[in-house]
Symmetry: C2
Subunit: 234 residues, 2 copies
């Protein structure tokens, strides 16, 4: 119940969330080594942080095996992600930062922001639904974030809106930019070559091709196409 989580605790919760929920090959639990890597700390530090959270019943820790979020932990993690994305939005919309700069700066002060101020900021920003990268801002006090599929999961005929992880390599960002693949841009899938072959897309009216590896690192908000919409209506 106590909301007095430290900066380190919150970062740890976010990392556990990313590694357990967000990762591609669905893993059961995050290992302390991965968490240490993700947070840029030594393994020992990660272990003690995990123990702190386990005492608070925010994670479940099977020593030598891995770490999982409890229901409370997931809610706290999602709250931290919401906070982060709102602050990113503030940096982008009110201070004019580029979407790929916002991520870096948000981390430095999001943790000290009173909840009250987060709430007002959200309203002042006109209740945004996504961060500048295109990922959804979760509702308040929920424990889940709608997960976006990778672009490569789409099939010919599908249409979707692009999202890019904040961690994306600047070189890759530059490359994607030349293809017009920026957060918020709408794409349509034309063809998908077999055997992990490339994807052919329409981006802003122009035809583009992207490889499997890249397409698996671009996430998208899929549009519900007409057939499926009909099915849902039934």
């Amino acid at each position: 119940m106590e909301n007095n989580l430290s900066k380190s605790d919150r970062e740890m919760l976010k990392a556990v969330y990313r590694l357990t929920k967000g990762a591609r090959p669905p893993l059961p639990a995050a290992h302390t080594g991965e968490l240490a890597d993700a947070l840029g700390v030594t393994p020992g530090t990660a272990t003690t942080a995990v123990k702190r959270l386990a005492e608070r019943a925010l994670v479940e820790h099977q020593p030598y095996k891995g770490v999982e979020l409890t229901a409370d932990g997931r809610q706290a993690a999602v709250g931290a992600i919401r906070r982060h994305r709102i602050v990113e939005r503030f940096l982008a919309d009110m201070l004019g930062y580029a979407w790929n700069e916002a991520d870096r700066l948000a981390g430095s002060f999001e943790h000290e922001l009173p909840q009250e101020v987060e709430d007002r900021l959200f309203v002042a920003l006109d209740r945004p639904t996504t961060c500048p990268h295109g990922f959804p801002i979760p509702e308040r006090d929920t424990a889940d974030i709608p997960e976006l599929p990778p672009l490569y999961a789409l099939e010919p005929g599908d249409a979707a809106v692009v999202a890019l992880p904040g961690s994306t390599d600047p070189e890759i960002v530059k490359f994607l930019d030349t293809l017009g693949l920026r957060p918020g841009v709408r794409v349509e899938v034309r063809e998908k070559h077999p055997f992990d072959g490339p994807l052919v897309l329409t981006v802003d009216g122009k035809e583009r091709t992207v490889g499997e590896k890249v397409a698996n690192n671009i996430y998208v908000k899929k549009e519900i196409d007409d057939k499926k919409r009909k099915e849902q209506a039934v």
Copy 2:
């Protein structure tokens, strides 16, 4: 030269600044007990904090006598005050907080704000010259803040704009509000009774009387009147 001041260090610098420069009866140095009171910590804590700053050459500490800012310390303190007032302005202008709420909330995250973000915020706020309380926001990288005289220092014929310290008692604020004495309001001094007697003012077209004690806790930005303007022009 190092800018790595902790939250406690910055708060201490601000407190020393307020107690040495801002206080009414001009004191030579701040005592650790006053500093402890001002910051809500124990005397021992204040002493150790002062020692930390003395090692960094930001204050001069005469044990058992008092504390003074060095030139570097004054600059750091003024920088911290600038930061605080910009954040207050953000809370008031962008998030709609009342001027007397902004002070409380600013303290919680101003310390973690990257300088870069402070700078952008300042620009996004349209380079404000005062905080919501009416006190001036100092220029960047200066060591001094234009000090405002207390209302009681004015003489009949003077006109000025009101400023109220963030620490003002809510009861007093309420009382002042009924008199129309809010930050930013223009007042003209009509009469000043002798022997520390009350001051008669015009506030928003209406005549008001305030006692010496209250008038010494309202600060004002004095308007330069016509006679003096002429003198300055010569």
